[in-house]
């Protein structure tokens, strides 16, 4: 029932996305609201988010294939498949953001490796291959992870940390954007990624986990507690970052933080990121009875994911809404020359469409890929 509903929702999302895909592919970037001042918008935030979920999911898969924790035996595949569908979603998001996406091959043929962006394109491409290889090995030996798989998981785990930290560096290396520079984003991001990996697995198991697996309640409970811990760590990092920035009082930095806390989109921070994405899930998942129930656990996992998506956006835009020079905002006016930003309908459409495609791909894999059948068979046999 739930699955059918989610199938329906994801098809609807894809349909809603068609307008954005068409506009972006056949008209170009005219209908976007990001511009020359807020250079990166929703799509870059979603790239960071999806890339984080992909690397985080891979990290979570090590519970099964590397550390062989009995409680999580058999669920690593879900995490891996989650990584496999979110990675292309990340690449699509960033691909659509390129002014000349047809030239992406240049990053492979004439890369400038001093550029974090080039490193990330290569890093995520290799990481994607690692995920594929891991899936293939898992498929070949569903019973017990062979040594080669364990070694691969070690490599993949380390890569996941690097690539998820790397996207933090993508922003962090811009020394002139203080709010990105002082926040030590390459250190924050792997933690954010792991948190979203756990949250995604919580959602997947809650909504699609094998019906009759007696471990499910316990799995949800353990994942819920892990998510709570991660959220607390994340909130602490946020506190450290913001309080330090505000305390030191460098105007450009203070302005950016104030923009997040009290700016036009204060609600994205306080309501989505803090209340819905952090406080509510922490409370609900802390209650043993609720956290074992599929619906509660799943919805809370979803809220955590939405909160993290908002968190990524709250990192990307506010830094860009502070004019680099006094008077720049009013010196010359024209389309795409604004320090204010809210994604356009077309940008939302693309993002919704990408989410729909990723979810659809996930569900189809779940239904069609032979190894999910095997997982379910295995849990039946147990």
């Amino acid at each position: 029932m739930t699955k059918k509903a989610i199938y329906g929702l994801s098809v609807l999302a894809v349909v809603l996305g068609l307008y954005g895909f068409y506009s972006r592919l056949f008209i170009g970037e005219r209908e976007v609201n990001y511009g020359s001042f807020v250079t990166w918008g929703l799509w870059v935030a979603m790239y960071l988010f999806f890339a984080g979920v992909a690397s985080g999911s891979y990290m979570v898969a090590t519970l099964d294939y590397l550390f062989e924790i009995p409680l999580f035996k058999g669920v690593g595949k879900y995490a891996l498949w989650g990584a496999m569908v979110t990675l292309p979603a990340a690449l699509m998001s960033i691909g659509f953001d390129l002014g000349h996406m047809e030239r992406i091959w240049k990053v492979y043929l004439n890369p400038n490796f001093s550029s974090l962006l080039a490193q990330m394109v290569w890093g995520y491409t290799i990481f994607g291959m690692v995920i594929l290889l891991t899936l293939w090995m898992v498929f070949r030996s569903p019973e017990k992870p062979p040594l080669a798989l364990k070694l691969l998981m070690v490599v993949g785990f380390i890569m996941a940390i690097f690539v998820s930290g790397g996207v933090g560096a993508l922003l962090g290396v811009n020394a002139s954007r203080l709010v990105w520079h002082v926040g030590l984003l390459p250190a924050q991001f792997p933690i954010f990624s792991a948190a979203t990996g756990f949250a995604l697995l919580l959602v997947i198991l809650a909504f699609f986990g094998p019906e009759d697996d007696p471990r499910l309640g316990q799995q949800l409970r353990v994942l819920g507690i892990t998510v709570i811990v991660m959220l607390i760590v994340k909130t602490y990092i946020l506190w450290a970052d913001f309080s330090m920035s505000l305390y030191s009082g460098v105007p450009q930095n203070v302005d950016a933080i104030n923009e997040v806390l009290f700016g036009q989109y204060w609600w994205a921070f306080w309501i989505i990121q803090i209340i819905l994405g952090t406080v509510l899930p922490v409370i609900v998942l802390a209650i043993p009875n609720l956290s074992r129930q599929r619906l509660w656990a799943g919805v809370m996992g979803l809220l955590v994911l939405v909160g993290f998506a908002a968190a990524r956006a709250n990192i990307v835009f506010p830094a860009l809404t502070i004019p680099e020079l006094e008077g720049l905002a009013t010196a010359f006016s024209g389309p795409h020359l604004s320090f204010e930003y809210f994604p356009s309908l077309m940008e939302w459409s693309v993002t919704v469409g990408i989410m729909g495609l990723a979810t659809l791909a996930f569900l189809i894999g779940l239904d069609r890929l032979p190894f999910f059948k095997k997982v379910q068979d295995l849990s039946h046999e147990r």
């Binding site: 170009g28 970037e29 005219r30 976007v32 511009g35 020359s36 001042f37 250079t39 990166w40 953001d97 390129l98 002014g99 000349h100 996406m101 030239r103 992406i104 240049k106 990053v107 004439n110 890369p111 400038n112 001093s114 550029s115 974090l116 962006l117 080039a118 394109v121 993508l170 290396v173 811009n174 020394a175 002139s176 954007r177 860009l320 004019p323 680099e324 020079l325 006094e326 008077g327 720049l328 009013t330 010196a331 010359f332 024209g334 389309p335 795409h336 020359l337």
Partner: protein
């Protein structure tokens, strides 16, 4: 480019006309081709042009600074490319905030809506009766240590032999990483718009609409390449920025903003020439550079 024999005497009037960019960018492009094909002829022509300018007036203290800078420019062009070091000096006390430079740049480089290379920032200070305004023209600083180039994933933007930070439009993938990295907001992205398209007016109500449309689509000549605006071809989708009008400079013309500045506030030239106006002015004690603390080493100096 004319051969030395053909050089006609450059009167002050037609020099100024040429300097104002009225000779047309297409002529400049032809001149660039000629320069590549026959560098010796070009060199001789520079000599002749300098002589012609000096024949009219040979006292640097009496000359219009535009004439002096043009002579110095032609002199610099006789040196190997890597021995030139183009800089700009902007005297904020002389800027009246007319924005003519901004518009000259828009016209010269045929910038579409949303793309600007040289806005003039306006600030107001003080309280009545002690109120004052400051106008700061802001071209690309052509940083000696530019944060915008190392972040480019495909080396599409780099510092060329003359020290100017350029963008290779055919290489640029439009990721806008360079725009985010520039501490001066000096880069903008071309989103493929035009001024005339989709104007909410009934047909034929704007006189000359067709001409305006054709003008917008016709080529610009940045970097000495003719690029018309059609479809999604570069520079649409690319990062764009001030390039000190290299296509003009290479054929002996001053940047468009310099020639149109009514206050003669913007000076341009070769800092490696110790006798140049810019070398002289950039050594004044009242010179500053924007955001010096970032270590970008701008090549644009401000006199305050």
């Amino acid at each position: 480019m004319n051969t030395s024999a053909e050089v006609k005497e450059v009167t002050r009037r037609n020099f100024l006309r040429g300097a104002a960019g009225l000779t047309g960018a297409a002529v400049a492009l032809a001149a660039l081709d000629e320069l590549e094909a026959h560098p010796e002829t070009a060199l001789a022509s520079y000599e002749a042009q300098i002589a012609a300018l000096q024949a009219v007036n040979n006292d640097p203290t009496q000359m219009d600074v535009l004439e002096r800078m043009r002579i110095e420019l032609l002199r610099a062009l006789q040196k190997p490319v890597e021995d030139r070091r183009w800089i700009m000096v902007i005297d904020l006390r002389k800027c009246v905030g007319c924005h003519a430079c901004t518009i000259a740049c828009v016209a010269e480089n045929k910038l579409p809506p949303g793309v600007v290379y040289r806005p003039v920032l306006e600030e107001e200070f003080g309280e009545y009766p002690n109120v004052t305004r400051r106008f700061t023209p802001r071209p690309c600083m052509q940083c000696e240590n530019p944060p915008c180039t190392p972040v480019c994933p495909v080396e599409a933007t780099y510092t060329n032999a003359e020290g100017v930070v350029v963008v290779d439009y055919d290489q640029c993938i439009g990721c806008r990483a360079c725009i985010a990295a520039c501490p001066y907001g000096a880069r903008t992205s071309d989103f493929g718009l035009t001024y005339t398209e989709d104007l909410p007016v009934a047909d034929n109500l704007i006189v000359g609409m067709d001409t305006a449309e054709a003008y917008e689509r016709a080529s610009n000549f940045e970097y000495g390449e003719a690029r018309s605006r059609k479809g999604h071809s570069s520079p649409i989708g690319n990062a764009r920025k001030c390039h000190f009008c290299l296509h003009r400079v290479r054929v002996g013309e001053l940047p468009a903003c310099v020639t149109t500045c009514i206050g003669r506030a913007t000076l341009f030239g070769d800092a490696n020439d110790p006798h140049s106006l810019v070398a002289e002015m950039s050594a004044k004690p009242n010179v500053i550079r924007l955001k010096e603390e970032l270590g970008t080493e701008p090549r644009v100096y401000y006199l305050v």
